[in-house]
Every structure is written in structure tokens, then in C-alpha cells.
């Protein structure tokens, strides 16, 4: 018995050691980033990371000397609209694929799936030409319109909707609800966890997008935060690293917020008691 206990203890020590090591590898750069955002650039360049000259100067500089607020505003508008568009269009198409009967349903669904196999980078040149022809360059809509819907979102919600107990739909049918009412009053509330997941995923996807916005925006009026951050680096001959770190810290805040808020909803058991 003692033998087994010893082995268990060793196994645990090894597991925790590995976990701590991984946590250090992942978290240390993050904390260095946050820490340096409080240090003066001079100290950072000298490699004096343990300086005690911490202050909020970098943050004040970021807000007063750069258009970071404008970038943030642009990004919030684009990401929010993209998120709501995904929720609306993906849930509607998923509803159709699950609850409506129409010809060639399987074929159309396969078509949706095929678009997922194509990386978005592959379609970037034709998309650019389309957007250009429509005269949408350097405008919010250049970033919103091409990503109004997502095949992945439709697929994810379809799988979730298929788990909705069919008795709930039948009960609604007997009460005389039409498809729109069933969609709005039964299917959406029942699948709210999946909707929140998709919403968070879409918001973060739009927040972190880089390649497409850098192609279609070229002024501060529409530039989004990820590109803006890059802009801060190359705009000046002397890079104010402290301020850049502060800006980077500012833009990860929404990501962390979304995850924390989302976590609250990912509790299981919200749908208990529906059937049986």
C-alpha cells in the first residue's frame, strides 16, 4: 500500500510541476508586458526591468498623444455589429436547417460546410476587388459586410438546435406558434448558452482580426485597434515602448472581460427540467 501511495505522490508532484512550468511559460510574458507598461521607456531600453519608477504616465500618453481612443471606438463598432450579425443570421439559417423542410436541404448544408474548408486568406484578393468595386474601402462596412455571417456559426448552432427536445417544438405547435415565434420564444432561449458562446467567439474574432482590416483601411477614421497598435510602432523613429505596452494592455482588457462574463454563463444545468 505504501508503495502505491508513494507512486501517487510522485505522480502528483510531477503533474503539478509540469502544470506550473507551463503556466510560467504562458503567463510570464503576459505579466512582463503588463509590468513594463508601467515603466518609463528609458528603463525598458536599458533592460532595467526591476526599476521602481512605476507610474501611469504611459497610459496617459497613450490616450493623449495617439488616436488609440478612435481605434478602440472603431473596433468596438465593427466587432459589435459583426457579433450581432452573426447571432442573427447564423441562428436563422441554423433554424432553417433544423426545423424547416425544403428541397435539397442536405445539399445546401454541404455547401455551407465546404466554405469552411476554404481559408479566408485564399479569398482575400477577390474579396478586396469586390469591396473596392463597391467603393467601400476605408469604411466600416468594408470590414463588416464580408463577415456578416459565418458557416462555422451556422454549423455550431445547428448542432445545438438539434439537441432541442422535439416535444418543446410540438408543444409550441399545438399552441399555434408560427415559425418566427417558435424561433424567438422557444429555440433561442433554449439555446442561449450556445448563442452566448458564438457571440463571444465572433466578438473576439472581429476584435483580433488583422490581415483583412489592414488591407481595406488606410486612415484613422476606420483603422481598427490591432492595426493601430502596429501603426504606433512604426510611426515614430524612436519607439516609445512603454506607451506601446500600455496600449497593448488596454486592448486585451475587452478580451479578458468577454471571457469573464462568458464564464458566468457557461454553467451547466440551465436547461434542466425541460423534459422528464
Amino acid at each position: 500500500m505504501a508503495n502505491i501511495d508513494e507512486r501517487n505522490v510522485l505522480k502528483n508532484i510531477f503533474s503539478y510541476f509540469l502544470l506550473i512550468l507551463l503556466a510560467v511559460v504562458i503567463l510570464v510574458p503576459f505579466f512582463i508586458g503588463i509590468w513594463t507598461s508601467f515603466l518609463p521607456t528609458a528603463d525598458i531600453l536599458k533592460g532595467n526591468y526591476f526599476s521602481t519608477n512605476i507610474s501611469l504616465t504611459n497610459y496617459i500618453d497613450a490616450f493623449t498623444n495617439t488616436p488609440i481612443l478612435r481605434y478602440l471606438g472603431n473596433t468596438i463598432v465593427v466587432a459589435t455589429i459583426t457579433m450581432f450579425a452573426h447571432l442573427l443570421f447564423c441562428s436563422m439559417s441554423a433554424y432553417a436547417f433544423v426545423f424547416l423542410d425544403f428541397k435539397y436541404k442536405k445539399f445546401f448544408f454541404a455547401l455551407f460546410m465546404i466554405t469552411m474548408m476554404l481559408p479566408s486568406e485564399a479569398a482575400i484578393i477577390p474579396n478586396f476587388q469586390t469591396v473596392k468595386a463597391l467603393g467601400l474601402l476605408d469604411h466600416y462596412s468594408a470590414m463588416i459586410v464580408p463577415s456578416l455571417t459565418s458557416a462555422f456559426g451556422t454549423f455550431m448552432l445547428r448542432q445545438s438546435f438539434m439537441q432541442t427536445p422535439k416535444e418543446l417544438k410540438e408543444a409550441a405547435d399545438i399552441e399555434g406558434l408560427n415559425h418566427f415565434q417558435i424561433f424567438w420564444k422557444v429555440v433561442l432561449p433554449y439555446n442561449r448558452i450556445s448563442l452566448i458562446t458564438l457571440g463571444a467567439y465572433s466578438f473576439l474574432g472581429a476584435w483580433n482580426s488583422y490581415l483583412w482590416p489592414i488591407l481595406v483601411t488606410f486612415s484613422n477614421n476606420s483603422r481598427v485597434i490591432q492595426n493601430g497598435l502596429k501603426q504606433l510602432q512604426s510611426e515614430e523613429t524612436f519607439n516609445n515602448w512603454g506607451m506601446i505596452q500600455a496600449s497593448a494592455a488596454i486592448i486585451v482588457i475587452p478580451t479578458i472581460l468577454v471571457l469573464f462574463i462568458g464564464q458566468h454563463y457557461f454553467k451547466s444545468g440551465l436547461n434542466e427540467g425541460a423534459v422528464k
Binding site: 418543446l168 408543444a171 399555434g176
Partner: protein, 360 residues
């Protein structure tokens, strides 16, 4: 003013027949139970009345109107599902109000109906809870309240009690029966439990092999079953079916063993006889006169069930008074009263009606 089923059929695309020529009349305000073993098509029949499943052939009419192609909502009925089908994101109150709001009743009427329905099923105190915070019996009551609150005149129930434990089932059975009587609604109730059917129904429809076996009151079904299947389906323990041969116009020999003198004349030479366990007479006997051996005895309090096998291996069960004492593997002699059911070789009931005999 009733629900009429005329030659209703259901076939699936693969050619599998689920229901064949179901014809029945369900009177307004009655408690109608559809009963049968699993897979006999009883739930399908209910879903066809509700309009959730298309019918392949035949006609369903409600209050004189053919509803074959009418969507569920226009049939003016409610349904209680086996799994309750509550909306997990709505409170008890909103669950009950759901259908009324969808049908656009005005606010004050909705409130009055919902509150009355909740009062009727004793759920007033729990009206703000979510379904997940309720026990099985309470969830069942919410589902009932939803049917009660509706102004529909027909209520369909699909095995509503099958998820409850035995004691709760008996309680809810009485509550459902009382509600149906109080509200005066037509209740069409599907179950596989013959006790539920016997205790609640005004009329019972017995389904088996995708066909209607018999429709009648519980007493008719029990006393004059149409065939061997119906006889075997009702009664606990089930009726004993034994082979018999005719020995004279009014007497048969059962199981090539004991003789039963009948009140009626028999025509078939070979027939089957159905004897309820309480019509069997069990006596202790010595080895010479014995014709059976006790296999097991179950004590039920006011009576005992004796399971025995005849010398030729056929099994029977008999009900004896609880003070009678039988041991396992004891030799006994089994005979029967003449209150038996006679079936021909195809299992059709050929017993002459007792009332007719008395009146004649």
C-alpha cells in the same frame, strides 16, 4: 359533437404499417383511454389526433369538422407530453401562461386562468420557480396546469404518469380523474398500464398488432373480452389460458384433466378456455388425486397468489384466501368454477353472454 375516427391508417414510407383501419367514436366530455403494449401504435394514434403526425388514410373529424389537413393549433386541443415539455427558461407561471399568451388572450383573462389553474393543481406557492427547481411530481402538475388553463375542449395525454414513482402515480391518477370530471373536458389518454386504463376510463380502446382489438367500458372489457389478447391484457395476475376439449354439449375437459360443466352449449371440438385466477379452486391433495405442484406462493396481505404447474407442464396462477396455507412443491388439485371464458382456435371469444342466458 364528438371526435370520430373513421378507418384511420398509418403507414411509413418503408411500407411499415403502424395502424390499420382504426374506427372509433370518442364522445364529448368522456375519459377515453387508448391502451396497448409498447409499439402497438397508440402514441402514433394520439399524435395523429393532435395533428403532429400526418395520417395515411381515413378520416378524423372533431365536432363534425374533418381535421385531416388542419394544423394542430386549429384543432382546439391541448396535449400533455410524457416528458412534460416544460420550457426550462420560463417560470412555472409563465409556462402555464405560454399558450394563452400565444393565442392572444387579454392580460386580465390570462392572469385569471393561470392563477385558477395553478390553484387547482396546488402549485400557487411555486409559481415563480423554474422547472429545474421542481420535483418530478411538481413538473407533472405544471404540465397538467397548462392543459387546465387552456380553453380547449379536448385534452390529449401521452403516458403522463410513466416517469413517476408508484405512490405518486396513484395520487396523480386520482387528481387527473378529478380534474377531468370537474372541467368536463374530453380527455384522450394513452397508457400501456392496464390498471390506469381500468381505473380512470369511461371507454377503453385496446390496440394490438396495429389493429383495434376492442372498444368498451372497463367492465365490458374485463367481463366480455373480444379475444384472447384482451382477456390476457387485463387483470392481475393475468388470466390463465388453457386448452380444452368438448366432452358433451355442455361440458368440456380442461387441460386434459378436470371437467367444467357450462351454462351454454359448445360447438367447437377443440377450444381454449380462459380462467381468471380467482375462479380456480385449489385444494390440498394426495399424490394420487393431485394434478399440479405449487411452484411459488406470493403473500399480498388479504390474499395469496399460488403459482403452480400442471402435471403436463402448463403454468397457472390462482388466487386463494390469505389464511390458506400452501408450501412450495406441495401437491395440489386444481379445478375451476364454471365462470370461464371460451375462445375458439383463433382466439375469438365464443362465450355466450351471461345476461342473455339468464334472461332466456
Amino acid at each position: 359533437m364528438s371526435t370520430l375516427l373513421t378507418n384511420v391508417c398509418k403507414q411509413y414510407d418503408q411500407g411499415k404499417t403502424v395502424l390499420k383501419n382504426v374506427t372509433a367514436e370518442i364522445e364529448t366530455g368522456e375519459f377515453f383511454v387508448i391502451v396497448g403494449p409498447s409499439g402497438c401504435g397508440k402514441s402514433t394514434l394520439l399524435r395523429m389526433i393532435a395533428g403532429l403526425t400526418q395520417i395515411s388514410d381515413g378520416e378524423i373529424s372533431i365536432d363534425g369538422q374533418v381535421v385531416n389537413n388542419l394544423p394542430p393549433k386549429d384543432r382546439n386541443l391541448t396535449m400533455v407530453f410524457q416528458s412534460y415539455a416544460l420550457f426550462p427558461f420560463l417560470s412555472v407561471w409563465d409556462n402555464v401562461a405560454f399558450g394563452l399568451k400565444a393565442r392572444k388572450h387579454d392580460q386580465s383573462e390570462v392572469e385569471e386562468r393561470v392563477n385558477n389553474a395553478l390553484k387547482m393543481v396546488n402549485l400557487e406557492d411555486l409559481k415563480d420557480r423554474k422547472p429545474r427547481e421542481l420535483s418530478g411530481g411538481q413538473r407533472q402538475r405544471v404540465a397538467l396546469a397548462r392543459a387546465v388553463a387552456s380553453d380547449a375542449k379536448i385534452c390529449l395525454m401521452d403516458e403522463p404518469l410513466s416517469n413517476l414513482d408508484a405512490q405518486l402515480r396513484i395520487k396523480m391518477r386520482q387528481e387527473i380523474y378529478a380534474l377531468q370530471r370537474k372541467l368536463g373536458i374530453t380527455l384522450i389518454y394513452v397508457t400501456h398500464d392496464q390498471v390506469e386504463a381500468m381505473t380512470m376510463a369511461d371507454h377503453i380502446m385496446v390496440l394490438h398488432d396495429s389493429k383495434v382489438q376492442q372498444i368498451g367500458t372497463p367492465a365490458e372489457i374485463y367481463k366480455t373480452p373480444a379475444n384472447e389478447f384482451v382477456a390476457g391484457f387485463f387483470g392481475v395476475p393475468p388470466i390463465n389460458i388453457l386448452y380444452a376439449t368438448k366432452i358433451s354439449d355442455k361440458a368440456i375437459r380442461v387441460n386434459n384433466d378436470f371437467q367444467v360443466d357450462l351454462d351454454q352449449t359448445v360447438t367447437e371440438k377443440e377450444l381454449k378456455v380462459g380462467i381468471r385466477p380467482n375462479e380456480l379452486i385449489v385444494e390440498k391433495a394426495d399424490e394420487l388425486s393431485a394434478n399440479a405442484t405449487v411452484q411459488n406462493v406470493e403473500f399480498l396481505g388479504d390474499e395469496k397468489i399460488v403459482y403452480a404447474t400442471f402435471s403436463n407442464g402448463n403454468e397457472v396462477s390462482a388466487i386463494v384466501p390469505s389464511d390458506a396455507h400452501f408450501d412450495m412443491f406441495e401437491n395440489i388439485k386444481i379445478t375451476s368454477t364454471n365462470n370461464v371464458l371460451l375462445f375458439n382456435q383463433d382466439g375469438i371469444n365464443v362465450t355466450a353472454n351471461r345476461e342473455d342466458l339468464i334472461n332466456a
